[in-house]
């Protein structure tokens, strides 16, 4: 297995209706992220019929992360045949599935539109991204709960290191429809239940055998199963950016770090959270002044029911000793402590 590095080549944070100052201390986020209804302003008009909210937002975020100008893409993007797609979303097609079921119960199958057929399959977001941008590499849809976004980044990094693709488009997205919000509130203790915010984050990752000094590297990732505490802080030194899981205080060593609870800032983004965190971390690292050659940013997402997953990104010379993509879980557990 290759010990190649994984670098970030593009990011997008697409949160319709985001307050202008919500993330101002972290990074400048596009203030005019369009809603799913207005997705044609980014994507062009064709091909959006019966596309769900999550799919539309995912397409918008992907278009920007790939560096494409607004308008419909008509030919495969450069390098499309070796580009993988990894998407994280838990609730993307829940409303459609429940609505079809209700239609069947009240009126029968003949009232179900055949145009809804693709949306009955949970991987519709990942396959729609592939079709629109012509991406024929491995196409993976993760529906893995609260850690799903960080899981998607980890899976994409593995696909690159295994040389199944040269580039990976990673998208995390959730809708904010009433059915999805209601399901997410079920069986959760009231402290964790927050209304959903429709949001999409995207990253473009590439494998780099010899990264340049200014490249942003995905350096480490770890998971901790539920009931086993919290993961070790993904960045060790103070003065960095630390994106924390909802409601969790930072590690005490992180005095002087910029600590961001994205859920407190913008609302519950569930399966999109880890990708949004990674995209923000990359954007923050990229806008640091040039004289700050080395910097790190870490993120932890998850919840008590699904466990936690962490990511770390770094700007600066590649570390001499490669840090494995996934720390041995026992090591993470040994250093995990209540924050």
């Amino acid at each position: 297995m290759s010990r190649a590095h994984v670098v970030v080549r593009g990011t997008a944070v697409h949160v319709p209706g985001l307050a202008p100052d919500a993330l101002a201390d972290v990074v400048r986020v596009e203030p005019d992220a369009c809603s799913a209804e207005d997705a044609h302003k980014v994507l062009g008009r064709k091909g959006l019929l019966y596309k769900e909210q999550a799919t539309r937002l995912a397409l918008c975020a992907a278009q920007r992360a790939l560096g494409l100008p607004p308008g419909r893409v008509t030919t495969p993007v450069p390098g499309a045949e070796r580009t993988a797609v990894v998407v994280s979303s838990n609730l993307g097609n829940l409303e459609t599935v429940c609505t079809i079921a209700a239609t069947v119960r009240t009126a029968g199958y003949r009232d179900v539109s055949p145009l809804q057929t693709p949306n009955a399959s949970s991987n519709v977001i990942a396959s729609t991204l592939a079709i629109r941008f012509g991406l024929t590499g491995p196409n993976v849809m993760l529906c893995n709960g609260a850690t799903s976004g960080a899981d998607a980044v980890r899976v994409a990094a593995r696909l690159l290191r295994a040389r199944r693709a040269d580039r990976a488009l990673v998208v995390g997205v959730e809708p904010d429809d009433e059915i999805s919000s209601r399901l997410l509130a079920q069986g959760d203790d009231s402290q964790e239940a927050r209304p959903l915010t429709a949001a999409a984050g995207a990253l473009v990752l590439e494998r780099a055998d010899d990264p340049a000094g200014e490249d942003l590297l995905v350096t480490s990732a770890g998971v901790v199963p539920p009931g086993a505490g919290l993961p070790a802080a993904p960045v060790a030194e103070p003065g960095q950016l630390l994106l924390v899981a909802a409601g969790l205080a930072p590690h005490p060593h992180h005095d002087g770090s910029l600590v961001v609870d994205l859920t407190a800032r913008i609302g519950e983004t569930y399966g999109a959270h880890g990708v949004l965190q990674a995209a923000l971390a990359a954007a923050w690292l990229r806008q640091l002044p040039a004289e700050r050659r080395t910097a790190s940013a870490g993120a932890v997402c998850g919840n008590a029911a699904d466990g936690y997953a962490s990511l770390a990104l770094r700007r600066g010379p590649a570390p001499v000793a490669h840090i494995p993509a996934q720390q041995p879980v026992a090591a993470v557990l040994a250093t995990a402590g209540r924050a």
Binding site: A80, N90, V97, C98, I100, A101, A102, T103, V104, R105, G108, Y109, R110, P114, Q116, T117, A120, S121, S122, N123, V124, A126, S127, T128, A130, I131, G134, L135, T136, G137, P138, N139, V140, L142, C143, N144, G145, S148, V155, R158, R161, A162, R164, L183, Q186, G187, D188, V223, P225, P226, Y270, A305, D306, G307, P324, A325, Q326, P328, V329, A330
Partner: protein
């Protein structure tokens, strides 16, 4: 690197892994009237390949999760795998997750939570100590994709063992879109047959334990077989229709990763869904890859129905069982093959003697997600 299949289990409408293989060899079909949880008039579908409601452990539960828990525990037991002692990761492939329970929650208010949509809890219960559980929702090739990700994990030495599984039950919504899309209800899946009427959903789960080398643990059964490679691709062409270049790319990726050519392959377990679109396209792509070479081709969905997220692994287990037993099960439901399959050596009627040591297993899913596995006999 090749990885060893150190444990396995399955549940289909034909029974557990051994019962399923014997049933397929006997030409049995598990098709029957649609289960009592659905009304044929509501969904426009009359038949399915479901597991009987009175089967052990299936009453009043989330069925996809219940079946998954059974096969994960069964596969781990055969491998004598203790997830508390080793670094074990589980990867679950599924088409429909537990959306059937989400539908009941929406319609009737049955208890359900977002955490139950994916399969972390049930796998952690069946496999105490498992370090990580990933739910991959990749339609009808989901467990083939899971198998590929598992092999990469072993290659990177990020796990000592990976439990790869697939599971699916039926949903009201998918039945309805299938009913809406079919001119006349199908009563059986007939892979590669002129008289095929389309696919029917099957219910089932399958799991294998994948390790870098054969197990020497006390109590472990002999290895089932060896996974040589999994080729992945995406058509990037159509939301529901398959596309020959994408299918061929997945096959080529599998050959390349294993360092073999079709001349090395002695058995094909085809995707074979009995649909208008898949079967001619898959047959033509296979005929193109194998040229005039006579390779036995079988398919299991005439017996098990289309078990969606579990289908790829069910076929992987059957391929390994065929090489181990020396008998390839026939294609249940096939009587008169389509023109595109004339160049293929389709196994019909009775089991075929088999001395293959390398088998190709096809799985193609909605959205053009393709996974082709090459499985070898145990060494």
């Amino acid at each position: 690197m090749p990885a060893t299949l150190t444990g396995y289990e399955a549940r289909s409408c034909l029974g557990d892994a051994e019962e399923t293989f014997r049933g397929l060899c006997a030409g049995r079909s598990g098709a029957g009237r649609l289960g009592a949880r659905f009304l044929p008039d509501e969904v426009g579908v009359t038949s399915s390949y479901e597991i009987r409601d009175d089967s052990p452990g299936l009453a009043h539960v989330h069925r996809a999760a219940a079946l998954l828990g059974q096969v994960v525990a069964g596969a781990a037991a055969r491998a004598a795998l203790d997830a508390k002692q080793l670094r074990v990761v589980a990867i679950v492939g599924t088409g429909l997750r537990e959306l059937a329970a989400a539908e009941r929650w929406h319609l009737d208010g049955s208890p359900f939570s977002a955490t139950e949509l994916h399969f972390g809890d049930v796998v952690r219960d069946a496999l105490p100590g498992v370090a990580e559980v990933l739910t991959v929702s990749n339609a009808c090739s989901a467990s083939g994709y899971a198998l590929a990700l598992a092999q990469d994990l072993l290659d990177a030495d990020e796990a000592d063992a990976v439990v790869v599984a697939g599971t699916d039950s039926l949903t009201l919504s998918l039945l309805a879109v299938m009913g809406r899309g079919s001119a006349q209800p199908s009563e059986a899946v007939r892979p590669f047959d002129r008289d095929r009427r389309g696919v029917l959903l099957g219910e089932g789960a399958a799991a294998v334990v994948l390790e870098a080398r054969p197990s020497t643990r006390p109590g472990a059964e002999p290895a089932l077989g060896v996974l040589h490679s999994v080729g992945l691709s995406c058509d990037a062409h159509h939301e529901t229709a398959p596309h020959a270049p994408g299918i061929a790319a997945a096959m080529q990726a599998a050959y390349d990763a294993a360092g073999v050519t079709p001349a090395d392959v002695g058995l094909v377990v085809a995707h074979g869904t009995g649909t208008a679109l898949n079967d001619p396209l898959e047959a033509a792509t296979l005929a193109d890859a194998y040229q005039s070479r006579s390779v036995p081709v079988t398919a299991i969905k005439g017996g098990t129905g289309h078990t969606s997220g579990a289908a790829a692994l069910m076929s992987v287990i059957v391929a390994a069982q065929a090489m181990r037993s020396g008998a390839v099960p026939p294609i249940t439901g096939l009587r008169d093959a389509i023109d595109e399959a004339q160049g293929l050596d389709l196994v019909t009627g009775a089991p075929r003697a088999c001395d293959a040591t390398l088998a190709q297993v096809d799985a193609f899913g909605f959205g053009g997600v393709n996974a082709v596995a090459l499985v070898g006999a145990a060494t």
